[in-house]
């Protein structure tokens, strides 16, 4: 009898310990990441320009480059990333449960998400807003003419809420046709299940080029909401929060200082004190984050500065052809503004 009880007590204790240690372990994401040898990064299930696999099966996009920047800062190797494709409904649970260390998946920063989910947004990689894609032959010129339309939208997104708000505010009716993945929403739009495809305008550009005949559809001029997209980490690990936050700031600062992946080696000998501090030639700004002094150098040499990342993935060097617009640096009339390295 006592033998039996001992076993049971052991089992209870072991399970309790297992459950308890997971909580403690998640407080030190950097050590865990080092132990695994990769950064586990939650990305979308295929959104060109933001995160999608190319024809060689390598992940590409502006969100993917954020993951690569974090890996470059942590390991000095931008390829040390394990990508976990997540749909909109899965993403926060995956991050909360520790399946991923960073969520870099065109996720809108909102109060609810920042305060009630036990998560923190580290910054903004892309300033976006919701738009409408419609068939050209409907002859529409404004979103105000959409009363009564059937609208394809992805489940669990802020789009679902913002579209409902917009139609209510304008006294219009609509039928929401809700799908789990953005691929399904495109399918529904092409089959004529809905008149309108709605999402962030950047995504609409990406989804439009996936259509069989991209010229048959137009994006209406209205942008009906603010959608700041950024990386997300778990709350309560300030060190990891800082690493992800400053990986993005390093790319923005690099563009502002004119450092790119092409000239970063020359810049190592620069006399500019800002550049010397960023590249680790003057002081060690990585140390307090648990990183090496050359953390920013690794990001810039392997991933590039923000402008390079933008142009390559969503800007003029990409099929999406999105204008920089408000995504320019503050020095060029945009709103990207990174704090100084000092």
């Amino acid at each position: 009898m006592s033998h039996k009880n001992n076993k049971f007590a052991l089992l209870t204790a072991a399970t309790g310990l297992a459950l308890a240690t997971t909580a403690a372990a998640q407080a030190a994401t950097l050590e865990d990441t080092r132990a695994q040898g990769v950064v586990q990064c939650g990305v979308s299930d295929g959104l060109p320009g933001f995160s999608s696999p190319n024809d060689q099966g390598e992940w590409q996009g502006i969100d993917v480059d954020v993951c690569r920047a974090v890996a470059a800062a942590v390991f000095g190797d931008s390829e040390a990333v394990r990508y976990v494709p997540l749909n909109a409904v899965e993403r926060f649970t995956a991050l909360q449960s520790g399946e991923v260390d960073v969520l870099s998946r065109n996720t809108t920063w909102t109060t609810t998400r920042d305060t009630t989910l036990g998560l923190n947004f580290t910054g903004v990689t892309f300033y976006d807003g919701i738009g409408f894609l419609v068939n050209k032959d409907l002859g529409l010129s404004s979103a105000k003419e959409l009363d009564g339309a059937a609208i394809c939208v992805q489940a669990g997104t802020t789009t679902e809420l913002n579209v409902a708000d917009y139609f209510r505010a304008n006294g219009m009716q609509f039928d929401p046709i809700v799908f789990d993945t953005s691929e399904q929403t495109v399918g529904g739009f092409q089959a004529g299940r809905c008149d309108v495809l709605t999402s962030d305008t950047s995504q609409l550009a990406a989804l439009r080029i996936q259509l069989e005949n991209p010229d048959s559809a137009v994006v209406l001029p209205e942008v009906i909401s603010k959608e700041p997209l950024g990386p997300v980490v778990r709350q309560g690990d300030d060190q990891w929060f800082n690493i992800v936050k400053w990986s993005l700031f390093a790319m923005l600062n690099a563009e502002e200082m004119g450092i790119s992946s092409d000239n970063v080696d020359d810049m190592l000998s620069s006399d500019n004190p800002d550049i010397a501090r960023l590249l680790g030639q003057d002081g060690n700004y990585g140390e307090a984050m648990g990183l090496e002094a050359d953390w920013a150098y690794n990001i810039i040499s392997q991933v590039g500065n923000y402008g390079q990342v933008f142009d390559r993935n969503v800007g003029m060097d990409s099929p999406l052809q999105i204008e920089r617009g408000i995504n320019e640096l503050w020095t060029n009339g945009g709103i990207h503004y990174a704090p100084p390295v000092r």
């Binding site: 409904v89 649970t93 059937a150 489940a155 579209v163 609509f174 929401p176 789990d180 399918g187 004529g192």
Partner: protein, 396 residues
């Protein structure tokens, strides 16, 4: 006769650890306590961890404004409704597709199951083909087939197929005219109720008359005529107080009438056809479980074929059919959660999908959703157990 002394019979009571019954009880109590402590530990641990990570908990979110739209709702719903309301909308959408699915699957299943036993070679083979095809293709693929291969290829709203310009079918769904009842229509349901009461009374009288005299009237046909005829008569006498709201194309879409969305059609067809193939086999096996001697005995009593089926075969077959039929009904209800794959707004899609993601309260939402399926399944199984007990062979 002397009273025997009880003293020699009384053995010393063994200590409780030597008494197998008491020992077993002790272990069971200890195990229960252990399990309770374990579960309590899990709940506490979860609460502590959620609190430590700053994740909001509790059911307060149910009264917050949902802020998103739902395409099919049986009750009033707008984006200003609460999350609690989205739960109800999703629940009702699950219930309606399950109820209609159970109904259709039962009808198709019984017809195909009986057809499989038909002496007609062609009918029996057709039924076999039906069963073997639909039973062996995964349900999810069948849902995709109906949704993507059939309903997605329908014409656009402007080129809808129509039946007499009142029923329309296009890629947006099926549009039916909706009856609008005018004043005076209340008499028709009243007539219906009177007819039903009258046919019950007639059936009782007929039975008593049969027991007394051995003569019986065809009660089924007379009741049917009464139940259909009386309301119809009243309808004609009152001058048909119904108008039809016929759907018409306006703007993007058809307006008016009843809209059956293609997601519903696809899910309903797939669930009914898939489950029916299993029910057909259950019905066939139930009928074949009755020994042929029963039929022969009934024939020897010179009962007509219809009465043999109704009075001898079916009552005995039902007790074989009902237990596995219950599992099929439960399967159908639970399988309806595949709705989320094609965007039908059922409980899983609306509540455990959108609501979960907008509020982030996974534990509460999933617990509520699981509780719903558990409750529905337990209710169905209780009802079917009751029904089973009624049709079970009463052994005397």
């Amino acid at each position: 006769m002397s009273v025997p002394s009880k003293a020699p019979l009384r053995r010393p009571k063994p200590p409780f650890w030597r008494d197998p019954a008491k020992r077993a009880l002790t272990f069971q109590i200890l195990l229960m306590i252990g399990v309770a402590i374990f579960l309590l530990g899990i709940v506490n641990n979860t609460q502590d961890n959620l609190a430590a990570r700053g994740i909001t908990t509790g059911f307060g979110f149910l009264t917050n404004t949902a802020g998103f739209g739902i395409v099919q709702s049986l009750i009033d719903y707008s984006s200003e409704s609460s999350y609690g309301r989205t739960f109800l909308v999703g629940l009702l959408n699950t219930l309606i597709v399950s109820a209609l699915g159970v109904l259709a699957a039962t009808i198709i299943g019984f017809v195909v199951g009986i057809a499989r036993l038909s002496p007609n070679w062609l009918i029996a083979r057709l039924a076999t083909c039906y069963i073997e095809i639909f039973r062996n293709i995964p349900l999810l693929l069948q849902i995709f087939f109906w949704y993507f291969a059939v309903l997605r290829t329908m014409p656009s709203a402007r080129e809808s197929m129509s039946l007499g310009e009142v029923i329309f079918l296009n890629v947006r769904g099926l549009y039916l005219p909706e009856p609008q009842f005018l004043s005076g229509f209340g008499l028709i349901p009243a007539a219906f109720v009177i007819a039903v009461v009258a046919s019950i009374a007639f059936a009782l009288w007929n039975k008593r008359r049969q027991e007394a005299t051995g003569k019986r009237l065809p009660a089924g046909w007379i009741s049917l005529a009464l139940i259909l005829g009386l309301p119809l008569l009243v309808l004609l006498v009152t001058g048909v107080p119904v108008t039809w709201d016929v759907p018409a194309l306006s703007g993007f879409n058809f307006r008016g009438g009843i809209t059956v969305i293609p997601e519903f059609l696809a899910l309903w067809l797939a669930l009914s056809i898939y489950t029916a193939s299993f029910i057909a086999e259950i019905v066939r096996s139930g009928i074949q479980a009755i020994s042929h001697g029963q039929t022969e005995a009934a024939q020897a009593l010179s009962l007509p074929q219809g009465l043999i089926l109704r009075l001898v075969i079916v009552p005995q077959a039902m007790r074989v059919i009902i237990p596995p039929l219950t599992s099929q009904y439960l399967n159908l209800i639970k399988n309806s959660s595949l709705a989320t794959a094609i965007g039908y707004p059922d409980l899983v899609s609306v509540f455990a999908g959108t609501t979960l993601n907008q509020t982030g309260q996974a534990i509460e939402v999933i617990a509520m959703t699981m509780a719903v399926y558990l409750t529905i399944s337990l209710l169905v199984s209780t009802f079917m157990n009751w029904f089973n007990a009624r049709v079970a062979l009463v052994e005397r």
